[in-house]
Symmetry: C2
């Protein structure tokens, strides 16, 4: 499993952090539970979560939209793009290009480009023994909303872009965004880093169960592995930036066979993609 | 109608030319006429055609793949990605990121990133009165193949990347790739530039009709508007680069109301997108 995003060197100087993410009706969202604008919002935020996990800030997005109906459903397309535009405004990520096609079902594929402004992107693979594990917010809210028929966490998730940049500047060793489930994504970070982990309790979103907090996807909170000596500085810098303080949820161990939550083996709880 | 691709300034110095293009089963291709690998090839080449039209060389691509079937069809996905990889190899455009989802139908959305190496990208809007119109090859081959049940032009089109870069360096004022039809794409170039055109005869691909040469899409040949004084130099530089000499097909006029082919009004022949 590679990082959340790829890094492309740009002739003339600079580099770009890029990622693509797509959402498909019936797979990633249910139009009975969210509006077309929500779908557009979720599609862009899902892609931006990958930039956040690299500690990158967004520069722009390209949107490929496939809309059902012979000739395409113009109203649906406009609704989706309105939600993309809202999320773009909130995130400071202008939509610089797009493509619209007709199709059997609604598909939104979003490519995002970002920068670490001359810094080094944070990879999944950098966690080392003794690192503290932090998470930027309670998890499971999106899953709880999905179970209960919709809601803000499901329809309007927010990529933790500023948190990602501040964590990178504070010396984070590794990061991943919770797109498929805190447990599964943490396993991926540990796999990439060749380490294990010991989790304590994790913050549970209002209305969510502890199982949803561990296995629910699309929260887009960031899991951060950072050296113990840098935790206090990171927390201070979150506060200085006006960000919610991160939760301390566990630690990295040297043995990649150790994957514990509250003393018990933690399964790879979360959304497993069908392929690849 | 904007340019074929957008330009993104990258902190640290460079800039990137970026575009997204998607192909949908039943809309942009027919799996009875081409293999999964052909679909992947066509998807990447279609996106690269937009870079070619800006005079950019590719740096990398991101591919969002939606594959039908519960859990997704792994064999189909691998076939498509094999074709993407083939086209990537031929074009010098590495695939740097991707995303796979299940869906009701096969959709391939490709984002490409390129560079003009410190130069200025060629826009659609730069054509001026007196410019000569050139095309890099015969048109209508893809449409003829589609009519006759498949073939190389339909299944394996080639983006004119080197031609685009050489034309840019030779001073081309405006370019567009023939993705939707020579006539329609030429109208778009003229619309963007606020000019008219007078076409003579255009080169017709083997097996194609003159109507297919004007109205058939997905040829990906480049239409180039260049000052008459620079035509000879451009032709020389094509030859020096080992490229097929371009065809002279007409000229740009000042009056945007003049849109003639062989003395008669030229309609907007070509593939009209359903939306936008």
């Amino acid at each position: 499993m590679p990082d959340d995003a790829a890094v492309v060197e740009v002739p003339g100087g600079g580099s770009l952090v890029v990622s693509v993410d797509s959402v498909v009706a019936g797979v990633h969202f249910d139009l009975a539970l969210c509006s077309p604008a929500d779908v557009g919002w979720k599609a862009l935020m899902g892609a931006l979560g990958d930039l956040a996990a690299m500690g990158a800030r967004p520069l722009g997005a390209l949107v490929a939209l496939c809309v059902p109906g012979a000739g395409g459903d113009g109203e649906l397309a406009l609704g989706v793009m309105a939600g993309v535009a809202e999320a773009a405004g909130v995130s400071g990520c202008p939509v610089v290009g797009g493509d619209v096609s007709s199709a059997d079902e609604l598909v939104v594929a979003v490519t995002v480009m970002g920068t670490v402004d001359g810094g080094v992107p944070v990879a999944r693979a950098g966690a080392v023994e003794g690192d503290t594990l932090l998470v930027t917010g309670p998890c499971g809210g999106s899953a709880a909303d999905l179970r209960s028929g919709g809601g803000e966490a499901y329809c309007r998730p927010v990529a933790r872009l500023r948190e990602g940049t501040v964590a990178r500047l504070a010396g984070a060793h590794a990061m991943i965004d919770v797109s498929d489930g805190l447990a599964l994504d943490l396993h991926r970070l540990a796999d990439a880093s060749g380490v294990g982990f010991v989790l304590g309790s994790v913050p549970v979103a209002a209305g969510a169960t502890p199982e949803e907090a561990l296995g629910g996807g699309e929260d887009y909170e960031l899991v951060i592995a950072v050296g113990e000596a840098d935790v206090a500085g990171l927390v201070d810098q979150f506060a200085a930036a006006g960000l919610r303080p991160p939760w301390r949820i566990g630690a990295i161990t040297a043995d990649p066979g150790v994957r514990l939550a509250e003393g018990r083996e933690l399964g790879r709880l979360g959304w497993q993609h069908p392929i690849g």
